[in-house]
């Protein structure tokens, strides 16, 4: 369906005008001014300084590796020396073990000596019979309830 020459004018009146915010120009200015900010210059030495930092960083781990290797070698040789030393080695070793302490001899206490024979129960004639207390009706033999 095509529009007659008069219809576009009518349509224009029918559709509301899109409002433009009051600060439209200020918004535009802000965005423009941000894009026009000067670029921070990069010094000519930037790459050379970066290379220097890179090479010092590369050399740092190898230096650390040497220190770790030396420490491992030293501790390994010390451990080997300790294991292979003769029994009567002088006590000047760096990791000196405490000298052997003679065991302390304690006299047995008669109270704590276990009997050699198991204790026999007394013969039935010597046993004292206790009279069984009578249980009255309604009484129980349990412990009294705990006090509140």
């Amino acid at each position: 369906m095509s529009l007659t020459p008069h219809q576009p004018e009518q349509l224009k009146h029918l559709l509301p005008e899109v409002p433009v915010p009051e600060d439209f120009e200020q918004q535009l200015w802000l965005r423009r001014i941000l894009r026009e900010l000067p670029e921070a210059p990069v010094p000519e030495t930037f790459e050379a300084e970066l290379l220097q930092r890179l090479s010092s960083e590369r050399s740092a781990p190898s230096w650390r590796r040497w220190v770790v290797a030396a420490a491992l070698l030293l501790s390994g040789s010390l451990a080997l020396w300790y294991l292979l030393r003769p029994g009567d080695a002088p006590s000047s070793a760096p990791f000196r073990m405490p000298e052997a302490i003679p065991p302390v001899v304690v006299e047995p206490d008669a109270r704590f000596v276990l009997p050699t024979k198991p204790v026999q129960p007394p013969p039935p004639s010597q046993r004292r019979e206790l009279p069984a207390p009578a249980i009255r009706k309604g009484e129980n033999r349990f412990l009294p309830p705990p006090e509140e």
């Binding site: 918004q27 965005r31 900010l37």
Partner: protein, 214 residues
């Protein structure tokens, strides 16, 4: 050892991602140098606008390229190289800012009102004691715009710089800042509004008060 001009020439037409793959595969110094040359200006510029200090910007830019060298294997070739590099720079800039703030006292008024749901990081105090770096911002207008940028919370400042100055897409910004696309848009809107308020005086000085005009 720096690469020879012929090595650089041979790789000059390669894309960033191709250069990065080359660098990952055989530690090509030429590929690395070309990447540094392509991005040093953009990274220094981004960092300067974020930190407001030229020396700090240069230092963090160098650290960014050192990280690129050190962590080259963590780069995924399917990802755009620029986004990855900006992510490193932005993370370093944020860390730098936080270290700076730890030693500074935070005025109570600088803390957000808490009413704005978009102010997720409203605890981040803006830099109110900023002195312009005249080595870069030589004009008074540029100094005032940079001072206004420094008054924005860092999460807003970062987004407005990436969008309006570095001209990155919303998707790229979302990836760099590790936030949702919707958050990027709303923060950008808020950042523009705040910046507009902060620079109203300058605008009126230049163009007059629009409300008083006929």
């Amino acid at each position: 050892m720096p690469p020879s001009p012929s090595e650089l020439r041979a790789l000059s037409h390669a894309s960033d991602e191709e250069l990065m793959q080359r660098f990952q595969a055989d530690n090509s110094e030429a590929a690395y140098t070309l990447l540094v040359r392509r991005y040093k200006s953009a990274i220094v510029n981004f960092l300067y606008r974020f930190t407001g200090n030229y020396d700090d910007a240069l230092d963090i830019a160098q650290e960014t390229f050192l990280r690129l060298y050190r962590y080259k294997h963590s780069y995924n070739p399917e990802q755009p190289f620029s986004t990855w590099l900006y992510t490193i720079a932005a993370n370093l800039a944020r860390g730098f800012y936080q270290r700076q703030q730890r030693s500074a006292t935070i005025p109570f008024s600088a803390l957000g009102s808490g009413e704005d749901p978009d102010e997720e990081r409203s605890w981040e105090p803006p830099d109110t004691q900023y002195l312009p770096d005249t080595r870069v911002d030589t004009t008074l207008i540029a100094q005032r715009v940079q001072a206004a940028l420094m008054q924005l919370p860092p999460s807003f400042r970062e987004i407005i710089i990436l969008r309006e100055i570095m001209e990155l897409s919303y998707e790229e910004i979302a990836e760099i800042t590790q936030t949702e696309l919707g958050t990027v848009k709303s923060r950008l809107n808020r950042a523009r509004q705040r910046l507009q308020e902060l620079l109203r005086d300058l605008y009126e000085e230049l163009y007059g008060n629009p409300s008083k005009q006929p």
